[in-house]
Symmetry: C2
Subunit: 335 residues, 2 copies
């Protein structure tokens, strides 16, 4: 039976059918919660025809919702509206798939469940022994321990996962630079940065060549294009400078400092997770827009594990919507 | 001759006439640069009639402008439009007041000059010996050394001032919590915070009672009111929790941690500035919406100085627009 799975975040919508179709698009849920059903309908219309809809989410944390329960209810309602007469299944963090009314009675199990479905799927690449999923996304990173192919996480909800190092709320696109570093190098000094959303990690990785330029994409801190030149302007502003005071070399040094800062945040969390594993992981599954950073992280940790790249396994398009793909595969097998 | 002085920031417009009139209002310059002349005209219309306009700024750093020079030119042009036939004077960081065309030829002297005019004015309260101005605003803090009543700053532009500790880009209202602390306490653990603009320092000071609640004011991270209850929701989101997972005690503990984090950022900068003073300052002039924090900072530094509070000297309304008032007084004396 054909099925379409959604992964609904606070800033992006992802969808996949488990057979090669995938869609990933920016959608600022926190600004336009009422437009969610229409946005989902639009994706359903261009996806292969589906008789069932499955959903997982993180978008319930968006600050248009006063509580997670309200967010979960809103998102499920939007999916049901978009699904029309198709049955809807909601993924819970206990691994079950339940109808909307059941999920709404247990909102904290439906909340932020997408890491769990992706980790369950990743477990297929490491059926025995200890392993790790390192999924570095645009906004957050999941570092999930796997034992014998099963999720062996300690945290049951988001705050617990943050405390355990299994969720690190930092990513390679949207994270404000002021949340990653305290200071940036400039003219042989360390200059404390502005506590302002002037630049994001995307600017650093644009300049370092880890993320590709896209002059048509203006999902940036200042609404200007995702180019190296505009990224330099944005990083300059982090120390209250502009391009006249901030050379290309200054920009590259700043970008390197941001990448290092993010690596050390991730390293702290990963060591926390590794410490609890029964043995050194034999496999590390890496995933997400920030696979390049996941790779650097694992090299830094000096774990002699085999790498499995979901971008290589699934292809670039599907891997960008990896949690939706994982949900489509898992839900498809069960129905 | 009656004069009206403007202090044009990236998020707030301030105006004063030096004789007791003052206005302070939020204006998101970075979102609406084209509306600046109209906003200024509206303030001119309700201020006592003025024959001259003076201006200082920090708004040239707003990211609607590609460079500071572009920002300075835009702001000066907007002031000239609003001023109509009235002459306009622009304050430069060398202490001079010049016509618009002269300022536009030296944009880096007109850029971010408001700290200098306020510090010059503060010098009147400490005519001899070493002194300090500590102006804690909504967004930034100035820690300016004064010697014999004159500005004795090391930094000449914003990046230099940041490096010298004379400018700290952190304030008591708008600063993202993720730029102030790495983690918040929760259920006897330290939980790393979300790199997301979910809450600002204002939420911490609302909860601690340092800033007053205002249910009609929605200039907050989530656009909900500036109340203790909504502030608790916002702080909860910083560790991906919500009010169901985050008690009032959790909120107060988090708020205390944010205040401590900000105090230690300011302490680092202030010690940097104090080290360069020829002697322990005899007077500390405190100012801005965050006078309460400036006071705590100075107590922490254990400097046995005499305090001068501009809120007490000028009254609450005028002191909220202290740099505009300072400019009005200084420009008024010279013309």
């Amino acid at each position: 039976m054909n099925l379409l799975a959604f992964d609904i975040g606070g800033a992006n919508l992802k969808a996949a059918d488990g057979w090669g179709f995938a869609a990933s698009e920016p959608f600022p849920l926190w600004q336009r919660p009422a437009e969610l059903p229409a946005a989902l309908r639009e994706i359903i219309a261009r996806a292969p025809s589906a008789e069932k809809i499955a959903v997982t989410m993180t978008g319930e944390l968006a600050d248009c919702f006063e509580t997670k329960a309200e967010g979960v209810a809103h998102i499920i309602e939007a999916v049901c509206q978009a699904a029309g007469r198709r049955p809807v299944l909601v993924y819970l963090t206990d691994g079950s798939l339940v109808p909307p009314e059941v999920a709404c009675r247990q909102p904290l199990l439906a909340a932020a469940a997408n890491w769990h479905v992706l980790a369950s799927f990743a477990g297929r690449y490491c059926a025995s022994g200890s392993a790790l999923l390192v999924d570095v996304g645009s906004t957050t990173t999941d570092i999930v321990p796997l034992v014998d192919g099963r999720v062996a996480a300690q945290g049951k909800n988001d705050p617990e996962r943050l405390a355990a190092g299994e969720l690190v709320y930092t990513g390679v696109v949207r994270s404000p630079v002021c949340a990653v570093v305290d200071a940036l190098p400039w003219r042989k000094q360390q200059v404390p940065v502005a506590a302002e959303l002037f630049a994001t990690t995307r600017d650093a990785y644009l300049l370092l060549g880890d993320l590709a330029e896209d002059p048509t994409d203006c999902q940036t801190a200042d609404g200007r294009p995702a180019t190296k030149s505009a990224a330099r302007d944005r990083l300059a502003r982090m120390i209250c400078a502009d391009r006249d005071l901030f050379s290309q070399e200054d920009a590259l040094a700043a970008a390197t400092a941001v990448a290092r800062g993010q690596l050390s945040q991730l390293g702290l969390a990963a060591r926390n997770v590794l410490r609890r594993l029964p043995e050194v992981p034999g496999t590390i599954v890496i995933s997400g827009q920030g696979e390049f950073l996941a790779r650097q992280l694992c090299q830094r940790l000096q774990v002699p594990a085999q790498f499995v790249s979901l971008a290589e396994e699934l292809g670039a398009t599907v891997s960008q919507a990896a949690a939706a793909h994982a949900l489509a595969v898992i839900a498809g097998e069960r129905t």
